[in-house]
């Protein structure tokens, strides 16, 4: 099994509070891995450590075997680490075609081009159209992002991340807030994500986790608590107690 993303004894403290407690974790190449845990388990902190938003206090992050612990967000992005956000982080004034076009041109190193307009870049257009199609945004490609339905914005959130051609993609609660009517479209798109992109899914929605993931890691109080296939995790009484049990009560 080759490893796409790995952490070794990753640690983060805020003052006296240990948010991430020596977590060692592996995301397999091409894997569909879900990270779950009760509220306050430190999932967001963990993601922020992986992407470089926060500096860690100890341990390592390896991306395709390369130590990226000290690299900035943007350097990690350039090395193939993409992410989406729990709350949409889109460019409100731009259209989907512009947002995706920008991400593609940045990846190809054309972002510093201050002369040739994107409208002349026939070389990127096929890829942009392909992404629009994949995320069912073709119809609304020239509408301002701020006016898109929420479900479409959620799709664009992933499309922009995928436009960077990531090797590893972190999906932070992609289904959060999506109305029921638009939900199926999102699930279908997630299922159809390219197989060679390794995906780490952070999600509360257990249906989505169990249909999507081939492996699940449970984080509790910042600690790597349990890991296994969906069936193993579901059968683990300790997990049921700290996590699934709680869900049922809620």
């Amino acid at each position: 099994m080759s490893v796409a993303l790995e952490t070794i004894n990753l640690e983060k403290r805020f003052g006296g509070l240990v948010a991430t407690n020596k977590v060692s974790f592996r995301l397999a190449q091409g894997g569909r891995h879900a990270l779950i845990g009760p509220n306050g388990a430190g999932k967001t902190t963990f993601i922020n450590l992986l992407t470089g938003v926060l500096p860690s206090n100890g341990g390592q992050v390896l991306l395709n075997g390369e130590d990226v612990t000290r690299l900035s967000q943007q350097q990690r992005a350039r090395r193939g680490l993409g992410r989406t956000f729990q709350i949409n982080q889109l460019f409100a004034a731009m259209t989907p075609v512009e947002s995706i076009g920008l991400a593609v041109s940045e990846r190809m190193g054309g972002g510093a081009d201050f002369w040739r307009g994107l409208g002349t870049r026939t070389d990127i257009i096929d890829e942009v159209l392909e992404l629009l199609e994949r995320f069912r945004l073709t119809d609304v490609m020239d509408h301002p992002t701020a006016r898109l339905p929420y479900g479409k914005q959620r799709l664009l959130e992933i499309a922009v991340a995928l436009a960077g051609n990531p090797r590893v993609l972190l999906l932070d609660e992609p289904a959060a807030g999506v109305p029921e009517a638009e939900r199926q479209e999102l699930l279908d798109t997630l299922a159809a994500l390219p197989k060679d992109v390794s995906i780490l899914l952070i999600e509360h929605d257990m249906d989505l986790v169990f249909t999507f993931a081939d492996r699940i890691t449970v984080l509790v109080n910042g600690t790597h608590f349990a890991e296994g296939t969906p069936a193993e995790v579901m059968a683990d009484p300790r997990v049921r107690e700290v996590y699934l049990g709680e869900e049922e009560h809620a």
């Binding site: 967000q73 943007q74 992005a77 920008l102 002369w115 307009g117 870049r121 026939t122 390219p194």
Partner: protein, 346 residues
């Protein structure tokens, strides 16, 4: 890079591919296309040269102020950087252009370019200070501090700048050896207008390029811009440098057309005025600075004939009222109108 994973067989797009291509490219190029209203604007600008010959002095000032405000729009409107010290680039451009005419050559284009380059170097050198902490307050203080620093320096370095007396003895040769700077300001206006127009064309190109789009992305959402691999810091430094270049050229234009530079070019009110000019015309669509300059100069002209000494009072009042009513509502009006007129050209 296995991009081929993305090119799975497209499902039944064949008949419309051509149409989608065009639609996508049209949208990608939407900001770059010229609208009829823009042609009208520049045609009118050119017409003023022929039809308002006795207003050339005022028009020249408007063109220079417009270029200066346009330079601020590049950072404020397109990259979201608030500056209280943009005047420093204007002032440095003016002093350098003046000094070059005294000590090196009176040839105008050389002085113009070197004035701009000097300001750009200063912009490049100070831009990293803006990235220390992306807080408006720190940026305000750093830009203001640098501007005050240069004001003090120019004041003290009287051996070079003439101090409070100003830089005396500037003489600018005819442009291309042919067009003399006359007292009516005709050559000056033509010179300032052409330079402003050319730089506008370049700026327009820049803001509609992928680089310009990435700036808009940074302004809208710096965090996301970072995660899609946009080098935010480098881009901001780049646009800040370009903006400084523009402001420096505007300052050089002023020095050359008035053949005088005083400490006033570095004064705080320059930075405050240019902010006001831009806000009057509207931020972030490139014409705001130019339109604001027209409004500002006409206001100044009218108000200072009414109350010569106290026109700043009315200026202040206008600012206060604009903010209280809401900038978007007032200055949004020309921008909305503009977009509507532009839209008609579709």
């Amino acid at each position: 890079m296995p991009t081929d994973t993305l090119t799975q067989p497209p499902t039944a797009v064949a008949p419309t591919t051509q149409g989608l291509h065009e639609r996508a490219l049209r949208n990608l190029g939407r900001t770059g296309r010229w609208r009829p209203a823009e042609f009208v604007f520049w045609a009118l600008a050119a017409a003023t040269f022929f039809f308002l010959p006795d207003q050339h002095l005022l028009l020249g000032e408007i063109a220079i102020l417009g270029l200066f405000a346009l330079s601020l729009d590049l950072i404020l409107g397109y990259a979201g950087i608030v500056s209280l010290g943009h005047g420093v680039f204007f002032g440095v451009g003016a002093y350098v252009a003046g000094l070059i005419s005294i000590h090196m050559t009176g040839e105008p284009i050389t002085g113009l370019l070197l004035g701009g380059v000097a300001a750009a170097i200063l912009g490049l050198a100070t831009a990293p200070l803006l990235l220390l902490r992306a807080s408006d307050l720190t940026r305000l203080m750093v830009t203001l501090g640098i501007a005050m620093l240069f004001y003090e320096a120019a004041n003290k370095a009287a051996w070079l700048t003439g101090g409070a007396d100003g830089l005396q003895g500037i003489w600018i040769d005819p442009i291309f050896g042919r067009f003399d700077f006359d007292l009516m300001g005709t050559t000056s206006y033509a010179y300032a207008l052409v330079v402003t127009f050319l730089l506008f064309l370049v700026a327009r190109r820049i803001v509609t390029s992928p680089f310009g789009l990435s700036l808009a992305a940074i302004r809208d959402n710096p965090m996301r811009a970072n995660t899609i691999g946009i080098p935010v810091g480098k881009r901001l430094v780049a646009i800040y440098t370009i903006s400084a270049l523009y402001a420096g050229i505007a300052g050089a234009l002023l020095a050359q057309t008035t053949m005088f530079v005083s400490l006033d070019v570095l004064a705080f009110h320059r930075s405050a005025d240019v902010l006001l000019v831009l806000v009057l015309g509207g931020v972030g669509y490139l014409y705001g600075g130019l339109i604001g300059a027209i409004v500002f100069k006409l206001l100044q002209d009218t108000l200072s004939t009414l109350t010569p000494q106290y026109w700043m009072f009315w200026l202040g009042l206008i600012l206060v009222v604009i903010v209280l009513i809401g900038r978007e509502r007032i200055t949004g009006a020309p921008a909305t109108l503009w977009n509507r007129v532009r839209g008609m050209g579709k």
